[in-house]
Amino acid sequence: MKALRDVFGDTLVDLGKTNPNVVVLDADLANSTKADKFAVAHPDRFLEMGIAEQNFVGVAVGLASLGFIPWLSSFTVFFTHRAIDPIRMLVAQTHANVKIGAAYAGLMTGLTGKTHQDVQDIAIMRAMPEMTVLAPADAAEGEALIRWSTEYDGPVYLRLARDAVPDLFDKKYRFTLGKTIMLRAGTDVLMISTGPQTVRCVEAADLLAKERISAGVLHVPSIKPVNKEEIVSAAEKVKLVVTVEEHTIYGGLGGLVAEVLSEALPRKVVRFGIEDRWGESAPNDYLLERFQMSAPRLSERIQKLAG
């Protein structure tokens, strides 16, 4: 069990040892995002860009044009809200080889509140042509996605939650772009989730089993592109599909699944996530209760739907 931000810092340090093209650009949050580990290990390739997120996106594009592999490090909200225009025009429209390390995604951002909680980023980035959108669940998957992104030639948006969650995967984990991962088979209901929320879905499936409800869990680390056939195939086996994400229910994973299944099956899809409201400063447990995203709340909500 290791926090994704520590995985981010440590993996970049390791990549920097073997790949001289890897550079890290910080917008004055390195000690929060743990990009500061790279600053210590590779000071010549750590580029402090100050509190100026639009500029640092452009700088990364310039560096990428010379063959560097720039990793941008900041909070999710400052990419998808403040710097979205340079990401759109300079990065996505030119297919620049820029990696967006978006830390503090979702609700649980270390008591920072709605100003720093980004629950729209999947919807925003998913609508952007040429952008690859990834969201790891745990440490092993996080490391694999950072390594894959560094090898891949093109723009990547990597959605990283702040805090540690129990491990789902181990060192043998291998990432395939677009591929979904069936973690639990189920015959009554299928939960589809992404990021660390998947860990809570697996726990909810255990709780539901005690209530004699067979719940499957499909994990989606690759939000864009995604293997649509795998989602359809998994949904075919159940009557009810529930999407679960630390994100607005509009346009994110829930939107993606609804789009896919309404064209292909269709199947009833219920979206769990943040409804049309902002978050607040509070401990993680409080937030999970308030937005009914903890494993017990998920189990209760699904029992009501399935009952």
């Binding site: 100050g50 100026a52 639009q54 996106v57 700088v59 310039g62 044009s65 225009d85 300079l90």
Partner: protein, 292 residues
Amino acid sequence: MSSEKDYIELEMLARKGRWLAISTVAGSGAGHVGGPFSAMDILVALYFRVMKIDPKEPRMPDRDRFILSKGHSSIGQYCVMALRGFLPIEELKTFDKGGSRLQGHPDVTRLPGLETSTGSLGQGLSVGLGIALGARLRGEKFHTFVMIGDGELQEGMIWEALHIAPRYKLGNLTAILDWNGLQQFGWVLAINETHRGDRRDPWSGIDLRGIFEKLGWRCIEINGHDFAQIVPALEAAKASGESDQPTMVIAHTVKGKGVHFTEGKHEWHSKVATRDELKVVAQELGIEEAMA
């Protein structure tokens, strides 16, 4: 050093460039004129005299880089690139047409010779900063030029780049401010206020040079339509590539420069010339109608 005779050749190229720009826009039925005309002499100086470039090898690794951050002046850049041999002059007719390499705003994925895409204003200087920084990290000696507009300078993102570039001591980066004093719509002139355009200068009464210098830029102030000032300024900027200060060439220009009825008129920011107007343009620029 360049001689006066060289400038006569550059002046002729700039007249051709202006003719190609306004006639291409007329052919496409939409496009910009005022900005391309104010930038034209500087573009000609860069492409024909100052930059190390090869139209046959547009991706030559040690080429000097140029980014037109004020991307809506794209037709000006395309016309100069065509005159320089990066594309056939005939291809200018495809400007703004479906499938064309010559998009309304510069598209790096389509036209070799561009360094990035621009159009949404205020972004080009940051990319130039990244290229110059990367060149320093790699030990490359080429120079990076970025042209920004004075209207564009209202964008906050440019100011982010303006304070970061001097921190990295990027002498290999030159920004060129095409200060033509007019933007698309802007503000009306105050009572009794006179200036080279028909609207208010966006930076009227503001000491931009002082601000740039305080931020750490080496400033060279020129008349952006006088090759005897443009060429030495850009060459001096390039010659200081190994210094510890980026250069800002503040070019005082006239929007719509070169034709009497487009000069200083904000409405010529984007406007299509009529057939009769084109005749006047050709006459004033000394262009044989046959070139059309």
